[in-house]
Amino acid sequence: METPIIQIQNLAKEFKTANGPVRALQDINLEVSAGEIFGIIGLSGAGKSTLVRCINYLEVPTEGDVLFEGQSMAAMTDAQRRTTRRSMGMIFQQFNLLAQRNVIRNVCFPLELTGVPKKEARERAMELLKMVGLEDRAQAYPAQLSGGQKQRVAIARALATNPKVILCDEATSALDPNTTKQILELLKEINQTMGVTIIVITHEMAVIEAICDRVAIIDQSRIAEVGAVSEIFLNPQSAIGRKLIMGDAGERAAGGTGSGRSIRIIFDGRESAEPIISNMVLACKAPVNIMYAATRDIQGKAMGQMVVQLPKDADGAERVIDYLESIKIPYEEVNGYEA
């Protein structure tokens, strides 16, 4: 098997605060393969921003190591780490463009740092601006751009040094839904056409669902679960995973039913022609109460989920479960946890 481009090994990060040390990360082990889009999701304060800064050693981990293409970042000198960072572009929630430089000079900035001749740098920058669709704004200053445009400039800047990895720290969290979609499409395109590995940090499941191949869910400084996005959507193992996938409304529906059993039914798009719930009710002769329903777009595939309260009588509930088993529709019981 090929060496993963990034390996995080037993990583821990502790911050000293006035109230004693705080563990921001603990026992983090992850591998990111070259060419994939890897998501890291968690609620605010879970430690995901610290984790992404540990990957390029902007934050030095308290314990553990990060291997970039098999090379230990912990063992590197400061100068070697700086060189390695040039292989890892980074984009931010607040874009972090240089306000006193125009667009093209912002994109040239990382090239300037490595001493690329000015003319060459400008040509490369124009190429990248064309790719992100902003060649006509090359002379504009960041203050004259919209949020989405600023993030495009930041993406062009991150790509200038031909990095192998792009780290996205909440890159779409300051953008409206429409712009978010466009930026995610751009990232996906960059991943596919240039083969750049992308690591996406976010608190929004929709971002993960839209572009990520695999995802790590991080909760209370630790990794709760890791896996393919579709796998985790179908069958989340952790409480936090279910919470993130179902969202608040779904969780309330699942947890607040009071009596009886509830199940979460997952539709993966192939059975859209069949009216499954209607058939189920007819076949089982048992009424069910639909608590929550939503469809998600996971990597372009429409996936639906529905939280359904089973009939109060045990017989009816059993018939529904048997029916779902017989037609091979994935489901899971959700009343095991309360909201």
Binding site: L58, R82, T83, N96, Q100, A143
Partner: protein
């Protein structure tokens, strides 16, 4: 007392002396103060190159110098002028104490400009592999240029008003004219003329600073 040719010539000389005392002292104060301001920010805990002990010591020294009243510093530092320039009286001699008083002030003004800078921008530069020097040259200085220019107007006008005290130690300039004629000889007319000229100089410096700052700032469009 009228504005005859002799008086006007004296005032002209006064303006020139005030100007060059301020200009030279400002220049030297920035040559010393600007790097100190950079060190204050860069070596701070959480700065891009933390050296907390150096930062603390520097901070204390700057505060010490800043707390000595200028008139006292003027008398303490004049022997140094004797060594460096060869005289302790006259306008050139005062450039030394002015520089000593202004450099720590400039360091603090520069420091506060740098602290206004968005930490995210510095982090972005670090993520691109920028070295400490590159961050200072290519991020700190150009990104805080508008704020540095405003700070410079503040520093230069302060130095100009300090220079007015040169009159007490045999220095020249408009301040000396105001003191010699207004205070020692009680000729209020000349005192007021000098004061008005000082006010005009302060206005010009401040306005120039404001305009340059606004013109250089690409954030406002």
């Amino acid at each position: 007392m009228k504005l005859d040719a002799v008086t006007i010539n004296m005032l002209k000389t006064g303006i020139w002396e005030s100007f060059y005392m301020t200009a030279l002292s400002s220049l030297f104060a920035y040559i010393i103060g600007l790097p100190l301001g950079i060190i204050l920010v860069v070596t701070d805990e959480g700065g891009i190159r933390p050296i907390p002990w150096l930062q603390k010591i520097l901070g204390v020294v700057i505060n010490l110098l800043r707390s000595v009243p200028f008139l006292i510093l003027l008398f303490i530092a004049l022997p140094l002028s004797k060594i460096v320039i060869g005289t302790r009286i006259g306008s050139p001699a005062i450039v030394i104490p002015l520089t000593i008083a202004a450099a720590p002030y400039v360091a603090r003004v520069v420091e506060s400009s740098f602290r206004e800078l968005d930490a995210g921008v510095i982090e972005a530069a670090q993520s691109m592999g920028a070295s400490t020097w590159q961050i200072i040259w290519k991020v700190f200085l150009p990104e805080s240029k508008p704020s540095l220019l405003l700070g410079a107007a503040l520093a230069v006008t302060t130095i100009l008003s300090y220079s007015a005290m040169a009159g007490f130690t045999g220095g020249g300039g408009l301040g000396a004219i105001a003191i010699n004629y207004g205070y020692y000889r009680y000729e209020p007319f000349l005192m007021w003329v000098s004061v008005v000229l000082l006010v005009v100089m302060v206005q010009i410096i401040q306005e120039a600073g404001n305009r340059l700052s606004r013109k250089s700032d690409k954030r406002i469009r």
